[in-house]
Amino acid sequence: MIPPERIRNFSIVAHIDHGKSTLADRLLEVTHTIDKRLMQSQVLDSMELEREKGITIKARAVRVHFDAADGHTYALNLIDTPGHVDFTYEVSRSLQACEGAILVVDATQGIEAQTLANVHLAMAQNLTIIPVINKIDLPSADPEMVLDELEETLAIPRQEVLLASAKDGTGVREILEAIVERVPPPAHDGRAPLAALVFDSHYDPYKGVVAYVRLAAGTLRDHDRIRFMATGAESDILELGYFRPQPVPTTRLVAGEVGYVATGLKSIREVQVGDTLTSADGGATEQLPGYQEPLPLVFAGIYPMRGDDYPELRDALDKLHLNDAGFVYEPESSVALGFGFRCGFLGLLHMEITQERLEREFDLDLIASAPSVEYRVKVLHKADELVIDNPAQMPGPGEIEQISEPWVSTQVITPTDYIGPLMELATTRRGEFQNMEYLDPRRVNMHFEMPLGELIIDFYDQLKSRSSGYASLDYSYIGYRPGDLVKLDVLVAGEPVDALSLIVHRSNAYRSGKALVDKLKELIPRQMFEVPIQAAIGSHIISRETIRAMRKNVLAKCYGGDITRKRKLLEKQKEGKQRMKRIGSVEIPQEAFLAVLRMNDGA
């Protein structure tokens, strides 16, 4: 049994691809936690998708034993953090479970926006920062530049910075020694009422919800009855343990320790990240600070490509929902797309990952509507505000007193070469420039405030393409602000196409409307009659095109009595028509919808 003063709890803060997972692997290897031969690259990223995208979605905690130079053996708990902007809250909870954080910066890339945001989070929670410049083995490594940046932007003295190559193992022992020396042991009041921070959870079909906890005070025993303070859920512990990295059951965890609790609870919603676990009887009276309900920010309609797949999609969403507290959904239907679900996500990446998991793990073909945010709408002569996450549900312009939309504060770190183009990008997206600071002579950190609705449509891709991939982005929600927003409808032969409605700023309405109308004109095949396509705000038409009627479709010749082939052609034609979606009497190929929805992603 390792005494509490020889426990160290720490996280790794790094940008995507800067080597966090490789470093974590190396730490497990050097401490003999896992046999080198059995080492599957990047053990901590356990989901296939995480490994492919190079990001960590679910935090994991691993205990390693390290024989330090002082002759003692230490228990080091590595608490892995998600590395993406959508999961800022999860990151903050993981950091709250630690006393120290290793800041990993790529020697060839320098500091990126999300890293900076996360280091600020860690510093705000008084964590000890151990700065590490990684990838010093690369020929293009420029540790001097990174040392300057760390000094300039985070006031980190050069002599505190460790140089390492997680790939070849250089400096890994030194990092472990630094954790032991610099990171304080956790406070360990084992007698106070039990209070444990839930910093992650997942659903296990056999053990129910498994909570990942850091004990702040008290002792947790494997036969305790526990209560989650925010949700009020209670249960008996089915299993208590820690990870090395496979689960190791134990009989107790004490203040300062990190481990897992299998609760047998059936819904992940009963075990929210940030909640406080305590004893069911005579537990803590106050929650640990910082708990927030998960806040979905980005919304989209998700529909099965084939209407028959609706039940499968429902099952798949139910299953994903079990394991992802940040994801919400409810059924909706669309004239154009049929039956589907309105889904809310923590952010864009979260949406992308969820869609991909649905398609990959559940073998579904999906259509997603353009992402939207939640608008708050004041209706004339009514006291209550409407909350609208689907543009199609927006009331008519005559009924609206005011629309408010969520705003975010963004920071963009970029080489100075791209300041101009990125400034322009942000301003065309209604970004309001706040200030800019130099990280070093070649890189700046620009701050904007902008509507989230503008950010979620293609902003990140544009940012990458306009900066040749060098710029990085972080954003955080700052609140609702009123805006001159309008609902833009698309009408095909006079019928509104609900799936294509958009909420846009009035100044962009004409441009967006024209782009949609032009694209539809190109994609909708000629019909037996003339089809007008219009973009409208309320009853006011702002753009119009006409698809002329089809003039000719006839098989002029009968091939020497070959009636069969002719019939087969007509059958094919009919099959094609049946796959089409109908807006009024107009038949529109599904591909046309897809192309327009993709255009929304990219316009």
Binding site: D308, G561, I563, T564, R567
Partner: protein, 396 residues
């Protein structure tokens, strides 16, 4: 009791030049095989049943005029011998108006051919060059005159519109020039250049596909539909009756053989790739490949490739699809009499839309395409396509 009419189609696949737009069973450079092929046709005829009363014979191709009068005569005689009941009303042969392969007009006449279908296609040199027809307008005029001089009283000509570079005025001039020849029957076809494998009977040669790829972007559906309208006006003014989507005739000069297809009468097709219909529930067709056809026929078997049994729904659909090709349309009562339901009712929703859009009209007992509808015949017919059997609808 009146005997059941029967019809014989004879496919002759040989061509000196195979046209890049053609989708029929054709083979170039094999004209030396015509004697062997004629024998094979007789072999096949000998093993095919000869039901009903033989009313028409039609030599289609390919280029049937590459056969000599003697060869054609052998086939006609064999057919006359094979059928117990013969009352020939029409023996048509498709001919190519090229000097280099000048048809054996008097030989054909002597063999019993009564009607010529001449592949004029256009009387405008640039069109003939664009289509690589291998004959000139004056050769076409000459061929027509020679056929008349040889005593053919019933001559049809084929013309093609929708050719890239052919304006509305060009088409009018070509039509009028064609009428000066005094044809008894005119067939006008839109140049259809199928690019999608769905529409191919067999993959076109790479050269033909390249040619189509070049031509298709230069085609203009709007212009082609104007050309069709103009055709209706010009031919009507000249006394030709529009009786089928692509066919116009002077009084009593309608193509009897083709009319049998549209009336769903029984026909026997012999030759490579030829189709047959028993007049009831079975369609069947021969192998397309010339050598495979020859070998099979020579062993004394029918060179059949496949057959299809039509269920009631499909037969009803065919009755509509073929009936609507005729300008006179279909009789509702006759249809109800045969199939027990009204064609306007079974697929009411889709059919109603075609009526609403002015493509189909119902007048008393008659259902027919409107003038707009003739140009959009496929759109109308799709509304009548039966639902696939439920089993095959589940694709996953």
């Amino acid at each position: 009791m009146t005997p059941v009419p029967h019809h014989l189609y004879v496919h002759v696949p040989f061509c000196r030049l195979v046209c890049a737009y053609c989708d029929f069973v054709t083979v170039g450079g094999r004209a030396d095989d015509t004697p062997r092929y004629t024998d094979a046709l007789l072999d096949e005829l000998a093993v095919r049943p000869a039901p009903g009363e033989l009313r028409t014979v039609y030599f289609g191709g390919g280029t049937p005029s590459l056969l000599s009068g003697v060869q054609v005569g052998r086939v006609i005689s064999a057919a006359r011998e094979r059928w117990p009941d013969v009352a020939l009303e029409e023996v048509t042969l498709e001919a190519n108006p090229s000097q280099r392969e000048a048809p054996d007009w008097s030989g054909l006449r002597a063999a019993g051919v009564t009607r010529i279908s001449l592949g004029v296609q256009s009387l405008r040199e640039t069109d003939l060059v664009a289509l690589a027809r291998g004959h000139s307008a004056s050769e076409a005029r000459g061929a027509f005159a020679s056929a008349r001089e040889s005593g053919f009283e019933n001559i049809s000509i084929d013309l093609i519109y929708g050719i890239p570079g052919q304006s509305l005025a060009d088409w009018r001039a070509g039509l009028e020039a064609a009428l000066e020849l005094g044809p008894d029957h005119v067939s006008c076809y839109a140049l259809q250049l199928a690019l999608s494998p769905d529409e191919w009977a067999a993959p076109p040669r790479p050269g033909a596909l390249r040619w189509r790829n070049r031509m298709v972007p230069r085609q203009d559906d709007e212009l082609a539909s104007d050309q069709y309208r103009l055709t209706e006006d010009v031919l009507a003014a000249a006394g030709y009756r529009h009786y089928e989507l692509s066919s116009w005739a002077l009084p009593d000069r309608e193509a009897r053989h083709n009319s049998a297809y549209w009336a769903r009468r029984a026909y026997t097709g012999i030759g490579a790739g030829a189709h047959s219909y028993d007049g009831a529930a079975e369609r069947s067709w021969n192998v397309r490949d010339l050598d495979a056809y020859l070998l099979a026929a020579e062993t004394g078997e029918r060179p059949i490739a496949d057959r299809e049994v039509l269920d009631e729904q499909i037969r009803a659909f065919e009755a509509i699809a073929l009936g609507l090709r005729r300008v006179d349309g279909i009789s509702r009562t006759a249809f109800v009499g045969e199939f027990g339901h009204d064609p306007m009712e079974r697929y009411a929703a889709g059919v109603a839309a075609t009526v609403r859009n002015g493509l189909l009209e119902v007048e008393g007992d008659v259902i027919r395409l409107t003038s707009n509808g003739r140009l959009l015949a496929s759109e109308v017919l799709v509304a009548f396509v039966p639902e696939p059997p439920t089993g095959s609808a589940a694709r996953r």
